[in-house]
Structures are given as C-alpha cells and as structure tokens.
Symmetry: C2
Subunit: 85 residues, 2 copies
Amino acid sequence: MATILVHVMPKPEILDPQGKAVGAALPRLGFDGVAQVRQGKRFELTVDGEVTDEVLAKVRQAAETLLSNPVIEDVVEVTVAQESA
Amino acid sequence: MATILVHVMPKPEILDPQGKAVGAALPRLGFDGVAQVRQGKRFELTVDGEVTDEVLAKVRQAAETLLSNPVIEDVVEVTVAQESA
C-alpha cells in the first residue's frame, strides 16, 4: 500500500473567504506578521500495490475532475508520501 | 516575504465523512485501486520578513489553536514553501 498526497488550492485570482477570515483572526489572537492566509484541501489517497507513473497520472486526473473544481481551484501537487518510519 | 505551509488532517481514529464520500465516488468514475481517501486542510501563510525558528514556532502554535481543532485534528506538517522559480 502506498499513500499519494494531493494538494488543491483556490486559484490566486479567486476570493478566498475562509483564508481571509483566518488571516483576520490571527492578529486578534496575538499572531502578528502574517500578511495573507490561503486555505485549500489536502487529500491522502491510499492505493493498492506500487505507485507507477500510470497510477500517478490516473490520480492526477481524478484530482482534476473529482477532488477539485477546475473553475476555481488548482491541483498544486500530486506526490507519493514518504513512508513514515 | 516567505510562505509557510501548514497541513492539518483528521486524527486517524476520527470518522472522515468527506474522505469516505470521495473514496466511494472514485470507483463510480472509473478510478479503481484507491483503498482509502482522507481529506484535510492545507494553509499557505505569507509572512513578512525572514522565517526564523521563532516564527515557525509561532505558526505551529497558531496552527494548533486556530487552524485546527486539536480534539479531532492533527497538525501534520509545518514547512517553509520552496520559492517557485
């Protein structure tokens, strides 16, 4: 079994209300120096067997069709997770 | 300006309905071989100035108090993003 990480973020030009809300709250809680916060999604997909280029391509396709909304989001990363020791 | 990435995932023992829903949909859309899907959050924090250990510690503290719910979520990663070329 292997784990593939998929990271999805809102497109830069898209308004990110969640990120804005978090960004506004940080100074109120004493965390200064953070100019901007953007919030996206992280998926961990556990796949059977070995991760071949074909499997990665299939996962990227699933990421672009099911795990993200291509109109407002970008798939920024599809990588194989390092096995934790 | 630098960007710090914060990754938050549901605790392993916690039910992850969103992940389950995505995991169930994948085979219906022709993506087989995915045993499990877990969905979490990814934050990109743009910070002023240099990222020192103290800044990273402050961001980790903000992650554990504001960006995640420590009862049901774990902060799995706090890293400085590579500057994109």
